[in-house]
């Protein structure tokens, strides 16, 4: 088990040493600057600055991690989809097309950055900055093991949901600002879909919170340490969360905000080059966050034999992502927007409420199915 803070410290130590060496050289070469370098040393040793540096490095570690994950997931998705559809997927860039995500990125960078003349330029740009930011913030709150977490908050689960559900807001902003009929319709759909599935999604986790009495993912994973995963204890909640999650990250069969058959590319029709790449990046980051939440809440988190906790966590998350690609992207047609809303409000909201009721009933009997 690795602590993220310790890892950041390991990265920070040589950095500080390097800065110290530079300051020493300055002292040696330009003696009149000694008071200034003394002041700089003092600033660096200040606990607040030190904490900020650690936080900065932690954020960068997570950013690099999510970038690698996103690259891996795009490759995995294309390859797996290809295989399931009797194609080969990417083949040319590198062995097994492993370099394809990088080739894609280079291509995105080379594209012209277009802003439609009638679009609301600043808002148009802001939307694709806001969207990845919103997608990244939950990473700080998602523990990969008991120690490998940037922010230890007792209400982390609530925070993750709160931040996570801001994503469609940016989708709406982007779709509106582009001033295009397709993007506008896509944005409207995104907003409607978010409202329809956000509520069942959050309610489906209430059962777990009631069982464990905690909003802290670390506690929730600890409660599953005996091997009884909440997926078995809360099958209804698991199902509602799974579907709500797919809808929330806008994947097939719920990818109607960017339904390419009728809306060209939905809300990101007008984005080009790196802006489009950022939108896609945010989408995959959200997908990862959703899969990670599923693993934490229902699939026992990082609990597993032999392998280190973080590795178990990553393995389970990747497995969930692979199953999502196989189970939904390749298998289902796209739902229509009215059907989607009716499914959300009329099926999944009652289902998650029923789950809460059942959990309440079980708790009322005094029987505790998990080791809390």
């Amino acid at each position: 088990m690795v602590s993220l803070e310790a890892l950041a410290g390991v990265v920070l130590a040589p950095l500080l040493e390097l800065i110290g060496a530079v300051l020493g050289t300055v002292d040696f070469l330009v003696p009149p600057l000694v008071p200034l370098t003394q002041f700089a040393r003092g600033v660096l040793q200040h606990p607040l600055v030190n904490g900020l540096l650690i936080a900065f490095i932690e954020a960068n570690i997570l950013l690099i991690y999510i970038t690698l994950i996103v690259l891996a997931v795009t490759w995995l998705e294309r390859k797996l989809m290809g295989r399931l559809q009797d194609r080969r997927g990417p083949m040319q860039a590198g062995k097994f097309g492993l370099l394809q995500p990088i080739a894609d990125m280079v291509k995105f960078l080379g594209k012209e950055d277009l802003i439609p003349r009638k679009a609301d330029g600043p808002l148009f740009t802001l939307a694709v900055i806001g969207l990845p930011c919103i997608a990244f913030v939950p990473l700080a709150l998602i523990p990969m093991s008991e120690e490998f977490v940037a922010v230890k908050s007792p209400v982390a689960l609530l925070l993750v949901f709160a931040i996570f559900s801001l994503g469609p807001l940016w989708v709406f902003v982007g779709g509106w600002a582009a001033n295009n009929k397709y993007t506008l319709l896509g944005a409207m759909r995104g907003a409607a879909q978010m409202i329809a599935f956000e509520i069942p999604l959050v309610l489906s986790t209430v059962g777990i919170v009631m069982l464990t009495g905690s909003l802290n993912p670390v506690d929730i994973v600890r409660a599953q340490a005996n091997g009884v995963w909440f997926a078995f204890v809360q099958p209804l909640g698991f199902f509602a969360f799974l579907v709500g999650m797919i809808a929330e990250v806008e994947r097939l069969p719920f990818d109607i905000p960017e339904a390419e058959a009728e809306l060209v590319a939905g809300w990101n029709t007008e984005y080009s080059g790196m802006k489009f790449a950022l939108g896609q990046f945010a989408e995959f980051a959200r997908l990862y966050v959703a899969a990670a939440l599923l693993v934490l809440l229902f699939l026992g988190g990082w609990n597993g034999p032999i392998l280190p906790a973080e590795l178990w966590f990553i393995l389970k998350t990747m497995l969930v992502l692979a199953i999502l690609i196989w189970g939904t992207r390749v298998t289902f047609p796209r739902l229509r927007v009215d059907q989607l809303l009716s499914v959300g409000w009329r099926r999944f909201l009652p289902l998650s409420l029923l789950n809460i009721l059942l959990t309440l009933a079980i708790l009322a009997t005094g029987w505790r199915p998990v080791g809390v």
């Binding site: 009929k181 069969p253 058959a261 047609p333 796209r334 009215d338």
Partner: protein, 362 residues
Amino acid sequence: MPEMWINMGPQHPATHGLWDLRVKVDGETVLDADPSIGYIHRGIEKLCEHRTYNQIIPLMDRTGYVSSMSWAIMHCIASEEVLGVEVPPRAQWIRVISFELQRIASHLLFVSGYAENTGLLTVWVYATRDREFILDLFQMLSGARMHYNYPRVGGVRWDLPPGFAEQTRRALDHLEARIPEYEAMTLQSKVFRMRSEGVAVLRREDALRLGVTGPNLRASGVREDVRLSDPSMPYDQFDFDVPTGRKGDCMERFTLRLEEIRQSARIVRQALESIPEGPVMARVGKKIVPPPGEAYARVEDPRGEAAEHIISDGSERPYRVKLRSPVFCTMSALPVMLRGVKLADVPPVMESIDLLIGETDR
């Protein structure tokens, strides 16, 4: 949201060729639709007036480029009628075989297009893949995969190549094993049924009134098939069913074509069994000069009733050629079908009538 017009084409992922469908929407509900065609009008009817009867065949291939064979055969039948030639039986049988193979290929493209428009990419890939087997057969037969230039006035260009029957049977075996796969992914899929059942119902009266023909008409409950009602090809020699629907929704139009693939495979198998020996070309001269007169031929194209009217003035080039495109007529039913559906249904509905803009614009 206020009502607005949305353009689905000519630059749109779901246009199935170069055309424009403007739909008037109130939020997500379609209030009206306005198909506008003519983007790839190539003046084929006029071009025909400057070509000899055999030179028109490649033009016909390009008129209905997804079902080249049926259009070329139709032209040959019309030309033979105006020329007064009897086609030898073997050539007749070969035409039936290639015609039905063409129907299979065309319907497979329909299956893939419809699935893609509902968002089901896997069936799109599967059906396109299996269409390749039919295209391979055509390559064996004619040397080309899309524009075959195979039928001739008076017969066909050459006899079936050696091993063609075997290869065809194998392809059909393969295909018939695949159709249950498509059905598992479409008909048994709850989401697919939600998207297709009861969507864009074309009532029997509307279909008849608007001149809809072919599978779309049959899906609306009218049992009409030119293969049976017009004896220009020897379909009375074969035993096959004409599937007919009742409801006339997208689901019926989809399942009906899947069934037609099966029936076409049945016809091809029978034709391969019973194909007579003999020449594949009637005795027509190198230079085809029909007497003055008119001829009208119609065939059951995969998209409906395709027809050609030729007027000959006694020269080696036709005086006038008029083509009836099945999709051109079916497209007039599109606004009727689209009124009241959701925006997301527009591409599947467009595809459910099996659009082919090449023959629509001609």
